[in-house]
Symmetry: C2
C-alpha cells in the first residue's frame, strides 16, 4: 500500500508522522490512555492513544478492537529505549480495516494439537514468528555459502522411477500408467551434477513415509545436498565444518533478536567454530562403553547414543567410518579397513543428534556394480548411475543437511514440528 511504513524501517521516521498497516496483537488500558501493540509482519510497535490527542470516535474505537483486528495507525514516531524496536508511536489517527471475530489463540497457553489445527493463525504468534525468521535465515545462509563458493544449483527431481533404499518408507503415486516415488534424497542425481559442474548442490523437499511419531521426524522435510568432484572424505569433512560454522555464525549475527525471543542460550552456539572434533565410529563406541551405555558394536547409533557422544564435546562432532554393513550401497569402503565406509555423520551438540550425513561415494565401476547386486537392487534402474563411473569417474563426496533439524537445534526447540510453516507428520496433514 502506498503511504504505509513497515515497522522494521520505522527508524527512518523518527520524530515524523508515519502510517502503519497491521494487526492488533495486544492492548493495555490505563485511564485516558490505550496502549496498542501492533504487529505488521516485520515487527511490533507500541502505539499510544491518548484521549486528549484524538477525536472521540477514534478513542472509542480502541475499546472495540479485538485481538488480530486489522488496522491502520497514523502518528508521530518517537524514540523509546524500552521498546524492542527502539520506538513507539503517538497516535493521531486510527482506522479499522476489518474487525476480527473472537480470536481462537489467546495469549495464554494452548495444547499443541489445537495450535497445530490452527497453524495458519499460530504463525502470527511471536515465538512461531521468530522460529520461521530463523528458518529463513538458515536457508538463505545455506544457499549463499554454496553460491559464493562457485557451486551450481542442480535441482534434483521429486518424482523418481525407482525405490532405492527400500520401499517401506516411500510415498508412491500413479504416473500416467506407471508408478513414481517421491524422492528421499537428491544425492544420486547430484553426483551427475558434480561430474558436470564440478561443485553442485540441490535444495528441496524430500519425503519419508516413516510410521514414527518421534520429535525428530517429519514426512516432508527440506534438505540441502552439496556434492563435489575430486573430493575425498577429508575434503568432505572440511567442507561440512566450514559450512556449519558459516550458517551458525551468520544466524547468531543476523537473528539475535529472534534468538532472544526464543530465550535461546546463544553461548552454546558461539562455540560452533572450526575445527570440529573428528572421531571414528570405533572411538565413538569406546565413549559409549566407557559411559556404560548398553550398545551392540556394529549397530547404528540411536538417539540416546548420539546424545551421550555429543555431550563429550562443546561443538558439533564428526563421526566417521561407520561399519559399511549398516550404510548405503553407494558409500566407498575404506581401503585401509574394508569393513568400514568412508562416511561421516555430524552430531549437533546439546543432544540435538544427527544433522548432516554424507561421505565419499564408490567411484569404481566394478565395485559399485557388485554392491548394487549384493544389495539386491535392480541393476537396470542404476545403469544411468553406473554411467557416472563408466565415463570419467572421479573421487567425489558430498553430504546432506536437514533444514528442520538445524532449525530445531539453533532455536533450541524440543520438537521439529514448529520449524516448518505447515508440518506434515504421520497424523498431521492439515491445514
Amino acid at each position: 500500500m502506498k503511504n504505509t511504513t513497515y515497522i522494521d524501517s520505522i527508524a527512518e521516521f523518527k520524530d515524523k508522522q508515519a502510517t502503519i498497516s497491521g494487526w492488533l496483537y495486544n492492548m493495555r488500558k490505563g485511564g485516558k490512555l490505550r496502549f496498542l501493540i501492533v504487529r505488521d509482519g516485520t515487527g511490533t510497535i507500541q502505539a499510544v492513544v491518548s484521549k486528549t490527542d484524538v477525536n472521540e470516535e477514534v478513542f472509542a474505537l480502541c475499546d472495540e478492537l479485538t485481538q488480530e483486528s486489522s488496522i491502520r495507525v497514523t502518528g508521530k514516531v518517537v524514540a523509546d529505549e524500552r521498546a524492542p524496536s527502539g520506538f513507539e508511536m503517538q497516535v493521531s489517527h486510527l482506522e479499522l480495516v476489518s474487525k476480527a471475530d473472537e480470536y481462537p489463540i489467546s495469549l495464554k497457553e494452548h495444547g499443541t494439537d489445537f495450535l497445530m489445527d490452527n497453524r495458519h493463525l499460530w504463525l502470527r504468534s511471536s515465538r512461531q514468528f521468530a522460529i520461521l525468521r530463523v528458518r529463513h535465515e538458515i536457508i538463505a545462509a545455506c544457499r549463499a555459502f554454496f553460491d559464493d563458493r562457485g557451486f551450481t544449483l542442480v535441482d534434483a527431481p521429486i518424482f523418481t522411477p525407482n525405490a532405492c533404499e527400500g520401499t517401506t518408507t516411500l510415498f508412491e503415486t500413479e504416473y500416467f500408467g506407471s508408478k513414481a516415488y517421491l524422492t528421499q534424497s537428491g544425492q544420486l542425481y547430484q553426483e551427475a551434477g558434480a561430474l558436470a559442474f564440478g561443485k553442485a548442490y540441490c535444495f528441496g523437499p524430500t519425503f519419508r513415509a516413516e510410521k514414527s511419531k518421534t520429535r525428530r521426524h517429519l514426512t516432508e522435510f527440506w534438505m540441502i545436498e552439496p556434492e563435489v568432484a575430486f573430493c575425498d572424505l577429508d575434503g568432505d569433512m572440511d567442507l561440512a565444518e566450514e559450512f556449519l560454522e558459516y550458517v551458525v555464525q551468520r544466524v547468531l549475527k543476523n537473528k539475535a533478536r529472534e534468538l532472544a525471543t526464543l530465550e535461546r542460550d546463544v553461548t552454546k552456539l558461539q562455540n560452533v567454530k572450526r575445527p570440529f572434533p573428528r572421531i571414528s565410529y570405533d572411538e565413538a563406541v569406546a565413549i559409549l562403553k566407557k559411559e556404560n551405555v548398553e550398545f551392540q558394536d556394529g549397530n547404528d547409533f540411536g538417539g540416546t547414543d548420539e546424545t551421550v557422544i555429543s555431550e563429550k564435546f562443546d561443538r558439533p562432532v564428526m563421526v566417521h567410518r561407520y561399519p559399511s554393513a549398516i550404510k548405503a550401497f553407494y558409500m566407498k569402503n575404506d581401503p585401509t579397513d574394508f569393513s568400514k565406509a568412508l562416511c561421516v555423520d555430524v552430531l549437533a551438540p546439546e543432544g540435538y543428534g544427527e544433522i548432516i550425513g554424507g561421505g565419499q561415494r564408490e567411484d569404481d565401476y566394478d565395485t559399485l556394480k557388485n554392491k548394487i547386486l549384493h544389495h539386491n537392487l535392480p541393476l537396470e534402474a542404476f545403469e544411468w548411475y553406473l554411467d557416472l563411473r563408466r565415463y570419467g569417474s572421479v573421487p567425489h563426496a558430498g553430504f546432506g543437511l536437514g533444514i528442520e533439524r538445524t532449525v530445531t537445534w539453533l532455536c533450541g526447540l524440543s520438537h521439529v514440528r514448529e520449524t516448518i510453516p505447515f508440518p506434515r507428520m504421520m497424523h498431521r496433514l492439515r491445514p
Copy 2:
C-alpha cells in the same frame, strides 16, 4: 582436492604453475602438439601439450585419452586473448584419473529422446551447462529480490489434504490410510503467510498431472509465489514489473557469457525495463479482433492468442481484469465491473507466453464463502482459509512466476524440457 585450481579462478595463476582436475571435452592434434580442451564444471580451458615439454609417456597418454576421461593437468598458465577464459595452459604434466568408455554423446547431433535418456551425461554439454547456469542465476535473483525487500520465506507444504482446482490434474498418494495430493500452488498457504509476516513468499516444486505434451508443460516445475498484505492489484503489478526487471537485468549482467554460448539475442532482453504496458482483457481482445484472430470473447487466451498480443509490445505486457468466470474462486471481483476479476497475467515478449499469473484475493468473508459454495468446493476443507477473512482480513495480492518458463524465455529456447536438470513429463520419468 588440495592443490587443485578451478578454471573460473585461473586468472590468479597467470604466469604460474597450476593443476586443474577435470574432464577431456575435446582434443585437436597437430604434429608435435596436442590441444586438450579441458572442462572442470566451472569453465573450459585449452591445455597445450608439446612433445618437447613433456616426457614420452605423457605425450603418448594424450593419444589414449577418450572424450570425458577424467584427468589432472599441470602446467603454466599464460594469457591468451582468443581463449574464452582469457588463458591457456602450457602442460608440463598430465595424469589420467579414469579412462572413459566410448562416450555416447559425441559432439555431433543427436535426437532429443536419446539425449534425454542420457540426461545425466548431457548436462556436461556446453549448451546444457549454460542453460542450467542461467537457471541458477534466475533462481538466485528471485530469492535475492524478495529477501532484500523484507519478505519472509514461508515454505508451502507439498502434501495437501484437498483437491482445490479440480482433481484431474492432481497427483495423489496414499497417506497413512488417507489420501494426500501434491501441491499445484502454494498460494492459499502463502495468504496465511502474508497475514502473519506482511510480505511472504514460497519457492518450491509444484505438480500438474496434465496429459499434455506441449513445449510449455512439465509435470514437475518450480514456482516462486510472493504474497503481500495491504496490497491491491495496482501494487501487485508494480511488484511484478519491478521483480521481472530485476531478474532479467541481473541475468544479463551476470550471465553474459552463457547467453552468448546460447546465441541469445540479448537486445530483446535489454528492453525489459519498467514501466511495462498494462492493458485490460477487453483491450487484449480488441487487439485479437483487429488482427482478425478467431476468438470467442469471454474465453481464456490460447498460446497463439498470447503470441499475437505480446508481439505488439517490446517488453512484457500485463493483461489485467479477465472475466471472473474463467478465473479461480479466490480472485476478488472488480467492484466497478463485477464480471471481471482483479487479476493479472504477464505475457513474455517474443511469443514465450504467460510467465506470471496473479492478482488481488477476495478478502470479504461472505463473498468468499459464497464463491466456494458456487464453485461446488467442499466448505469444510476451506474453513482454515476462511479463517484468514474471519480474523483480521486485509486487502492482499500476490502472484506466481514459473521458473522453467522464465528460463525458456531468457535462454531463447523452443522447449521447456531443457530448463530443468531432470525434466519430468508425461512420457519422461527417467533417468
